[in-house]
């Protein structure tokens, strides 16, 4: 661990990182635009310049060198002495900030980035209140560069992060800088729009309001948004994300740094995969079959009813005829609570891993970012719980077959998929179960056979943890209140088990870890210093 001295204070830093990264991690606020830890270094924004002690050419004494060095390009070396708190550095920073606004349109009132814009932040902290630029501004055009992204190149600071991202991480290289000097702008090649599967990241990467998401455009001022740490519910990779929401509505999803999984990026599938949460077709009323017709059921009456049905089904044979399908969309805690409940009434009940949607092969990008083919977040978590619970278990295919053979008297089927997940044949087979309890987000082919149909909550309305395909258990928090008429799954299972009070993910995890120690070991990514993005 090299030790360096910054502004007279000694700090310890990780090996091989640039000085800029080290001082940001140690809590300094050093302005920068082009540097991003996930991309190559170009040292072109000239904002992170620092002074460094060097041996004097004649006397060989260590002294402040009479020039500035880009801290993003200088690797840390033990014993190095640098400073940012000096008149020279401040003067250079203030000039560069003035240059950035020479051709900038200053249209913050209509800019989506306002409020989280590093041109605003740095101008306030390192720049000036007024400009000396009284000439005609050069105005680069606004462009539509892809189905999801807009480019307002008049706001661009030409940090070239998006270009490097396209080349190095996405491997698509669609974006390029064209023209020279202050006319330089980002553009795509004619007829080749920005359409790679990671394109949403360029919007996060942009330190200013040049690259904008069409989906988020003019939707919300960012200072009204609240961010909740969460985990990607669309694939088994377990990318960590922020859910930005306001008034119980999601407005956007951003990546949350995770050194073991997704680093700084997420795929567009994750980024735009939350739309179903606000779908008007979502179920919002528990129903019970009464003489062939579905009648509303009060949530308060549901636990008692389920207990009675389960006891009846399991009274004769310890519950051999009972099955519980644990969807990979459930969190570990929910799956554990539900299986505990079912096994407490029917010890020989079959636990089934729910349907796992898979589409195509895994996709790996040049720097190792992966889009996983498995489109459910918690297959591995559910499987480990079933394994730890012991007793009879089955795959989803086996369950459908046995159900079709009339083996089951009662089945509790959880869904929660954003897409259609059952074929009519599968539904018909499952429909042979005499008492069928479904718990799902949307109407499905099972509805006509269901005895009880419970509305589920989406992942953003629940809390718990997902175990990703590599076995990392990552907790996520609740961002939204459940839809009117919906109870969060965890709370409902909590009541089924008969635990007192409110369901909390962390509390449940503790109780679960007592039974299954592996679940005590959760992974929380290391906090990342504030980078300009």
């Amino acid at each position: 661990m090299p030790k360096i001295t910054v502004d007279g204070k000694q700090i310890e830093c990780r090996d091989g990182v640039p000085v800029l990264q080290a001082v940001l991690e140690a809590g300094w606020d050093v302005p920068h635009y082009c540097y991003h830890p996930g991309l190559s270094v170009v040292a072109s924004c000239r904002l992170c310049l620092m002074e460094m002690k060097m041996p004097h050419p004649q006397t060989k004494e260590m002294d402040w060198a009479p020039k500035l060095f880009p801290s993003c390009q200088t690797p840390v070396k033990d014993g190095m002495e640098v400073r940012f708190a000096s008149e020279g550095v401040a003067s250079s920073q203030s000039h560069v900030m003035e240059y950035y606004l020479v051709n900038h349109p200053l249209d913050c009132p209509v800019c989506d980035k306002a409020g989280e814009c590093y041109l605003q932040d740095y101008s306030e902290k390192f720049g000036h209140a007024s400009s000396r630029m009284v000439e005609d501004k050069h105005k680069n055009p606004k462009k539509d560069i892809g189905s999801k992204t807009l480019l307002y190149s008049d706001r661009c600071v030409v940090c070239s992060r998006c270009v490097r991202f396209g080349d190095e991480v996405a491997g698509a290289g669609e974006l390029r800088v064209i023209n020279r000097g202050h006319r330089a702008e980002i553009d795509v090649f004619p007829g080749v729009p920005l359409e790679n599967e990671l394109q949403g990241n360029v919007v996060d990467l942009c330190p200013v309001g040049a690259l904008l998401s069409k989906d988020f455009l003019f939707q919300q001022r960012v200072w009204n948004l609240r961010s909740t740490p969460s985990v990607d519910p669309t694939t088994s990779a377990g990318a960590t994300i922020w859910i930005d929401h306001n008034d119980d509505r999601i407005f956007r999803v951003r990546p949350r740094f995770n050194e073991k999984v997704n680093e700084w990026w997420i795929s567009d599938e994750t980024r735009f995969g939350w739309k179903y949460v606000a779908d008007s077709k979502r179920l919002n009323q528990p129903l019970q079959r009464d003489n062939g017709a579905m009648k509303p059921l009060r949530w308060e009456a549901a636990p008692e009813l389920l207990r009675r049905l389960l006891d009846e089904a399991a009274s004769a044979d310890q519950g051999v005829g009972v099955a519980c399908v644990l969807s990979p969309m459930l969190s570990c805690e929910e799956a554990w609570l539900l299986s505990t409940f079912v096994r407490s009434r029917a010890p020989q009940a079959t636990l089934v891993t729910g349907y796992v949607p898979v589409s195509g092969p895994d996709k790996t990008f040049p720097k190792g970012f992966k889009i996983s083919a498995e489109k459910a977040p918690n297959r591995r978590g559910v499987e480990s719980i079933i394994k730890a619970m012991g007793g009879p278990n089955a795959t989803f295919e086996q369950f459908v077959k046995s159900a079709g053979d009339g083996k089951f008297k009662l089945a509790y089927v959880t869904g929660g998929y954003p897409q259609v997940w059952l074929t009519a044949d599968q539904a018909r087979a499952i429909g042979k179960v005499q008492t069928l309890i479904t718990h799902d987000l949307f109407e499905s082919a099972l509805d006509e056979y269901a005895t009880i149909r419970l509305p589920g909550a989406s992942w953003a309305e629940r809390e718990g943890s997902f175990m990703n395909a590599d076995g990392l258990i990552q907790p996520f928090e609740r961002a939204l209140k459940p839809l009117d008429g919906v109870k969060s799954d965890g709370q409902f299972f909590h009541e089924l088990v008969g635990r007192p009070g409110l369901y909390r993910g962390a509390k449940t995890r503790e109780a679960m870890a007592e039974k299954i120690p592996a679940f005590g070991d959760i992974f929380v990514p290391r906090p990342e210093p504030e980078h300009a993005h």
Partner: protein, 481 residues
């Protein structure tokens, strides 16, 4: 007095650029001499000649070659023929009239650096020169001077011409390398220097055309001859260009260290000013090096250099050191642009800023935005709507860009800053006089015309504090640099 023409011996109208002519003039004898030596001996030999790079920075070529890592398998030699400095055309003249001199230099330098492939990066606008040089390369291949086993020495080297697409910044060595790799010509951050990791991530030497053309002559005529020419730290012969309202604009050869006055008035050189005009200003090293005051100013007292006084500065020696005493960046390409007394200094400023604003590559912020800003300020001053404050502003912007204070990746912003700074410093009285002659509120009207909202700009109303001036590059720091 007339100097011996060495580099330019074949440069005349109707001269024959063929290999036959070159061999008849004693060409390719240096190559035999070189091939008899060991490569490292050759590097030491050129080091001994203190052959300083003719491309502008004046870095010794032999020292550059010795930076190559010792155990390398592939080495590239890039010949910088992207001659884009505004009034410079010496490389063009050389390649047009004596391409084999350059080729011999390339082969010798290639042998010394154990180069496997040499690329000649040629300015895109050179069309005729390209055909001449390509023909010379074909002749050299046919004669066994390039390709496998050159002259039976067992040394192999290939040589190709790559034509640029017209960017000034591609004359910067790493910009050239990027462009040669097929990318946008954005200079690279250093370190690593090209000698360690250059073209295609392999050790690379980048040399100017004229530098390489000097190498055969040093070998044939010897170090004593070479070191007998020039001044203390600037040895050898050099091609000078002179353009502007002189009687004989053109390219001339002389040992390093002639005066600017000689270049303009010497009968073998510029031959004096047209219509006996006086010189207002001259940029003796290509415009990016900065401007000298001409002889319309009085002679200095006692011949002492004092750039703060309005004195005739034409006694500046054209070698690698003396221009610095006059506030210039260096010798540059030794291509003098002469501006006569009847030219408005505002037009000179406008033209200079326009060039750098157009050619800034757009990578570093100070240069990208600064050059464009200065151009627009200069345009406003030229249009008769300047302010006294603009002169301070220009001086301040030029002090806050450039590689010397570590504010940019390449040297282009230094080259943009020096001419503008020297113009504003040395011709401030004239600028002030011109601004004084304007209509009283011309500047304000012009500003409101471009931006009606500027009416409320606190800065125009005198309500806000101007952003603090100043610069990182204080005089003491400049001195240490």
């Amino acid at each position: 007095m007339a100097y011996e023409q060495i580099l330019m011996r074949n440069c005349r109208e109707g001269g024959d650029p063929s290999i036959k002519q070159y061999k008849a003039a004693g060409g390719y004898q240096a190559l035999d001499k070189a091939l008899a030596m060991k490569p490292d001996e050759l590097v030491e030999f050129v080091k001994g000649a203190n052959l300083r790079g003719r491309g502008g920075a004046g870095f010794p070529a032999g020292v550059k070659w010795s930076f190559l890592p010792p155990n390398r398998t592939v080495t590239y030699l890039c010949v910088n023929a992207d001659e884009s400095e505004p009034p410079t055309f010496c490389n063009r003249v050389l390649m047009e009239h004596d391409p084999h001199m350059l080729l011999e230099g390339i082969i010798i330098a290639g042998y010394a650096t154990r180069t496997t492939v040499a690329y000649i990066y040629m300015r895109g606008e050179f069309t005729e020169q390209f055909h001449v040089l390509q023909k010379a390369i074909d002749e050299a291949y046919a004669d066994g001077l390039l390709g496998k086993n050159i002259r039976g020495s067992g040394y192999d080297m290939e040589c190709y011409i790559h034509r640029g697409a017209g960017a000034y910044v591609c004359g910067e060595e790493t910009g050239l390398i990027e462009s040669l790799e097929g990318k946008r010509g954005w200079p690279r951050i250093k370190p690593p220097f090209p000698a360690v990791e250059g073209l295609f991530h392999k050790p690379t030497v980048v040399n100017n055309v004229e530098t390489l053309a000097c190498v055969p002559h040093i070998l044939t005529r010897g170090l004593d001859w070479w070191n007998g020419l020039g001044t203390q730290n600037s040895k050898g012969t050099k091609m000078y260009c002179v353009s502007g309202p002189v009687n004989r604009p053109g390219c001339y050869e002389a040992p390093l260290g002639i005066t600017t006055r000689e270049l303009i008035y010497g009968k073998d050189f510029g031959g004096g000013m047209r219509d006996n005009m006086k010189v207002k200003t001259v940029a003796p090293g290509g415009i990016s090096m900065g401007f000298l005051r001409g002889d319309m100013f009085p002679k200095p007292d006692g011949g002492k250099v004092d750039v703060t006084r309005d004195c005739d500065e034409l006694d500046c020696l054209l070698d690698f050191d003396d221009p610095r005493h006059y506030g210039l960046l260096g010798l540059g390409t030794a291509a003098a642009v002469v501006v006569a007394e009847d030219t408005d200094i505002r037009d000179v400023l406008f033209n200079v800023t326009r060039f750098f604003s157009h050619e800034s590559c757009g990578q570093c912020t100070q240069c990208r935005e600064g050059t464009g800003w200065m151009h627009r300020v200069a345009a406003r001053i030229r249009d008769g709507a300047g302010r006294q404050y603009d002169l301070d502003l220009l001086a301040e912007i030029t002090k806050n860009m450039g590689m010397m204070p570590g504010l940019s990746i390449c040297g282009l912003p230094d080259g943009a800053a020096f001419p503008i700074r020297t113009l504003v410093q040395k011709f401030r009285p004239e600028f002030e006089k011109r601004i004084g002659e304007q209509q009283a509120d011309a500047a304000k009207r012009r500003i409101l015309q471009t931006n009606p909202a500027a009416y409320d700009l606190p800065i125009l109303q005198g309500r806000a504090v101007q952003p603090a001036g100043g610069t990182y590059m204080t005089p003491e720091k400049l001195k240490r640099n």
